[in-house]
């Protein structure tokens, strides 16, 4: 479908998909944790707006509830929790300088082209209008994983994990008519519990090895060196 033939709501979905991909890229390049959490919150809000628009386009009202759930959990609640965690641990003054920002960004672009290439057969199969965005959602998943690989801070790992889940949710909204409500609620509460557990876990890690740098977890190895 040429973009000129779509209705304005559908064009808005495409625009929001592109903005979500932009937030994933911005998260890759952020060195301060509070800003990272803020961009994650923005991604959650954009995702909820997209879900609401998809509810209108695809004519499935239960997506409105999904949108509300996403907004409250991923847009407001979890970011606030992470922000309080960061401030309580005193990490908001740390700055993790990326060693090779240019290479990470090039890898991100390559991942986007790769996910486009991989999703091409799927896009050709279906008549669903908004299916072009499945390449974007796969790109968001892959960029989240790249975020986890390239960062040393444990809180950044949590954000990366959450953004993977964002990508999967986006893919589900776009390609099927949203997930069944039960599955939706289950996953949402799982994510919430995971966030709480992470917070508890971090205090433990910090008290045992005195830092939240995951490279230091090597010290916990049992093998004799």
């Amino acid at each position: 479908m040429e973009i000129t033939q779509l209705s304005h709501y559908q064009q808005a979905i495409l625009l929001l998909a592109a903005l979500i991909a932009l937030t994933s890229f911005l998260m890759l390049g952020q060195s301060r944790l509070l800003r990272l959490v803020f961009i994650f919150a923005v991604q959650g809000i954009l995702l909820s707006i997209t879900t609401a628009l998809a509810a209108d386009v695809l004519d499935s009202p239960h997506l409105y509830i999904s949108a509300l759930l996403t907004l409250s959990l991923k847009g407001i609640f979890i970011p606030i929790m992470l922000q309080r965690l960061v401030i309580n641990m005193g990490l908001h003054r740390d700055m993790e300088t990326l060693r090779n920002p240019a290479r990470v960004m090039m890898a991100g672009t390559g991942l986007m082209v790769f996910s486009y290439y991989v999703c091409l057969p799927i896009v050709k199969l279906s008549p669903l209008i908004t299916l072009n965005t499945i390449a974007i959602s796969m790109a968001v998943v892959l960029l989240g994983m790249l975020l986890m690989i390239t960062r040393r801070q444990a809180v950044a790992h949590v954000v990366g994990f959450m953004s993977i889940e964002n990508g999967l949710f986006f893919a589900a909204v776009v390609s099927t008519y949203g997930m069944p409500m039960v599955v939706e609620l289950g996953i949402a509460f799982d994510v919430l519990v995971a966030a709480v557990l992470f917070g508890v876990f971090f205090f433990h890690i910090r008290s045992s090895i005195d830092s939240l740098d995951v490279d230091q977890l090597n010290r916990l190895s049992e093998v004799e060196k």
């Binding site: 240019a102 082209v113 486009y116 290439y117 091409l120």
Partner: protein
């Protein structure tokens, strides 16, 4: 008729080479002339005058370059005739092997490269006499220089004429070996010897690769002539093998990254007019070889080839210009800039390959035309810059930018001509460098016609890198012109030098500058001529180029993009004169007043306080730091009781090529390692050698039975 002029060009170059051998033979020639011309006193008197001790050197030198000039003019005539008639002429020369005589083919592609050789040769032959004069009083004999120059030019032209693999390789080797002697001309410096050795080594490796590429084709076609190669059909695997071998071989001679290490060493070592020939023409002959092989001899092209060429071209372009910026030796800088421009040519060729492989013949033609046009443009402005650098070297004996400055006041005419060269190479409208880069951008912008989305996202990225390259080139040549010609002189030699005295040293570069402007302002006739070339080569042309008239260029269609450099130039001239009228002439002719430079009230401004070339390019060195191998040290000599006072401070900066560490040294180490492993056969023990003979005998006996 065109073939006659082509032959005349080769013969004139050879005669020039042979005549150079007579450099030190003045007395023998005098005696010979006396004995022969005894009966014609007037001719005898004339000959006496020519062979006299005072005038012989000048006449001899001029005759060499006149012969080269004849060679150049006949090359231009040959190409003009062939391009206008659009005919293909073939011939056979009775040299070579008894069953394989040398085949000659002079078609539009050869004619176009003949044009390149001819134009540059004319400029070099005008420049040469004044420049070469200083070598006469040196330790090196002009006979060597002249002889190998003649052979070099003849070799290049024979490569363009060759129509079978045997003749092609012979001419190629003639070109390589004679230019080796030219690079090693000033051999008392160890760096020049090393540069010449590296050049010869890489030329030989490249030639082996080319021979293997032709070998693949010969194996499948059963013969060595190009006509037999054209008719054979290869499987994709073997065609790709041949393509890779040709890319390595021709790319090594053209200076494609990572095979470029010889270029920045060899071009500064040679005399400046030879550098102009090598950089301007020889690299293009390598590009000709590549085009001939890929588009003419191979029947089908694949998009993977285009992608490889595009990637190598992009890498060459950006790495070439980044390294060029960091050089202080002017000729080395120009050599790296040649690497950049060869990269740009290969970008265009890669795009052409991609478009041809997906069936878009017209867009592929646009790519080839852009590449060919850039070949011509680069030959013109790079030769101009090298000749200018030679003139500067001749008058100031300085090669380093850090010692130059203020030359615009000492050498005003040369600085004007050099400015045109700098403007052309920075791809600025309305000069010729801009037209070929614009065509490459237009080719890349047609990427929407391709099917594969992955290629469609790679091509814009390559174009963005090309845009970065051309902006960096502008920065590099602002640096060159600003540091060398503007500002205050940074050394005594430069402060007291004079304008170029020999008129030929100005007319040669000026000749090239005129063509730079001409091809920039009227590119459409040139593109129509290139249509003839591509019509013969790949069978398609650009029909819409002159759709709006001969003053406009519209490569794809007039709604897609159009450009009229003539109107642009007219607009600039009209606006400048209007401003001049309004603001100067009509407002009371307020003359500007000369005063001292603003010095913030401190006083004492001298030439040491202005920006150096190293300082100018520091931001680029810092931003693109991963690309370089930077050795930057500060050595402090402290004194005083606790070592607090710094007595001397020494700043050391050396930027070297990372390809040495990543490509060349590993290859050299592995070759040495392999040879050491093989040399274990040579144990020195006589019983081992007897054992070798014994086992060979056993195997042969077993084999026979």
């Amino acid at each position: 008729m065109s073939l006659f002029f082509a032959y005349l060009s080769v013969v004139a170059a050879l005669v020039s080479g042979l005549a150079a051998l007579a450099t030190d033979k003045r007395s023998e020639l005098d005696r010979l002339a006396t004995s022969l011309l005894r009966r014609w006193p007037k001719l005898h008197a004339r000959a006496q005058c020519v062979f006299s001790a005072t005038h012989y050197a000048e006449y001899h030198r001029n005759s060499l370059f006149i012969l080269l000039g004849v060679s150049g003019v006949s090359a231009v005539l040959a190409s003009a005739m062939a391009l206008f008639s659009g005919s293909v002429v073939t011939d056979t020369l009775p040299f070579g092997l008894p069953w394989l005589h040398w085949h000659i083919r002079f078609d539009a592609l050869s004619a176009f490269f003949y044009l390149i050789i001819g134009l540059v040769l004319v400029a070099v032959s005008l420049f040469g006499p004044g420049y070469v004069r200083e070598f006469e009083h040196g330790k090196h004999s002009l006979s060597v220089l002249g002889f190998f120059t003649g052979l070099f030019v003849a070799g290049m032209e024979l490569v363009l004429l060759a129509d079978d693999a045997f003749f092609f390789v012979i001419a190629w080797e003639l070109m390589s070996v004679s230019s080796y002697f030219l690079v090693a001309f000033q051999h008392e410096q160890a760096s020049n010897r090393r540069a010449a050795f590296l050049y010869l080594l890489m030329a030989v490796i490249g030639a082996i690769s080319i021979i293997l590429a032709y070998g693949v084709l010969a194996g499948f076609s059963g013969g060595l002539t190009f006509d037999q190669f054209r008719s054979v059909k290869l499987t994709p695997v073997w065609a790709s093998v041949a393509f890779v071998l040709a890319l390595i071989g021709f790319g090594m001679k053209a200076g494609l990254v990572p095979f470029h290490a010889w270029l920045p060493e060899a071009h500064p070592a040679a005399p400046s007019h030879i550098s102009a020939l090598m950089s301007g023409v020889m690299l293009k002959v390598a590009v000709y070889g590549f085009i001939r092989f890929t588009f003419d001899l191979l029947d089908e092209v694949y998009w993977q080839w285009g992608l490889v060429a595009l990637l190598l071209g992009t890498a060459s372009a950006v790495l070439g210009i980044l390294y060029a910026m960091q050089q202080q030796n002017l000729k080395r800088l120009l050599a790296y800039s040649s690497v950049e421009n060869i990269g740009i040519i290969f970008i265009a060729l890669g795009l052409a390959l991609i478009f041809f492989s997906s069936g878009q013949a017209r867009l592929g033609t646009l790519g080839i035309i852009a590449a060919l046009m850039h070949c011509l443009n680069h030959a013109l402005f790079k030769s101009l810059l090298f000749l200018g650098a030679g003139a500067i070297l001749h008058n100031t004996h300085e090669q380093s930018l850090e010692n130059m400055g203020g030359l615009i006041h000492r050498m005003p005419k040369l600085s004007g001509i050099f400015l045109i060269g700098c403007l052309s190479i920075s791809a600025l409208p309305p000069f010729n460098g801009f037209v070929s880069e614009w065509l490459i951008f237009q080719t890349a912008l047609q990427t929407g016609n391709l099917d594969s989305g992955v290629i469609r996202s790679l091509i814009p990225t390559a174009s963005a890198v090309l845009a970065l390259t051309s902006a960096l080139a502008a920065g590099c040549f602002v640096n060159v012109y600003g540091v060398a010609f503007l500002g205050l002189p940074r050394s005594k030699h430069v402060a007291s030098c004079h304008e170029v005295s020999h008129q030929g040293m100005l007319v040669g570069p000026a000749f090239l500058a005129v063509f730079c402007v001409l091809f920039g302002v009227f590119p459409t006739p040139l593109i129509e001529t290139l249509n003839v070339v591509t019509g013969q080569l790949v069978g398609s042309t650009l029909p819409q180029v002159s759709a709006l008239g001969w003053l406009w260029v519209s490569p794809v269609a007039k709604e897609v993009a159009s450009y009229s450099p003539f109107l642009v130039l007219l607009g600039i001239l009209v606006t400048v004169s209007a401003c001049y009228q309004v603001f100067y002439l009509r407002s009371g002719r307020l003359e500007s007043r000369r005063a001292d430079t603003w010095d913030c009230g401190f006083g004492g401004l001298n030439a040491r306080m202005q920006y150096t070339s190293t300082g100018f390019v520091m931001p680029f060195r810092r931003i693109f730091q991963p690309v370089f191998d930077i050795d930057e040290r500060i050595e402090e000599q402290k004194s005083g009781p606790d070592g607090f006072h710094t007595q001397r401070l020494r700043y050391h900066l050396h930027v070297s090529d990372i390809s040495w560490g990543y490509v060349y040294q590993p290859v050299a180490r592995s070759v040495l390692g392999l040879s050491r492993w093989v040399s274990r056969i040579q144990t020195g023990n006589i019983r081992t050698y007897l054992a070798y003979s014994f086992f060979t005998l056993l195997i042969l006996l077993w084999g026979i039975s």
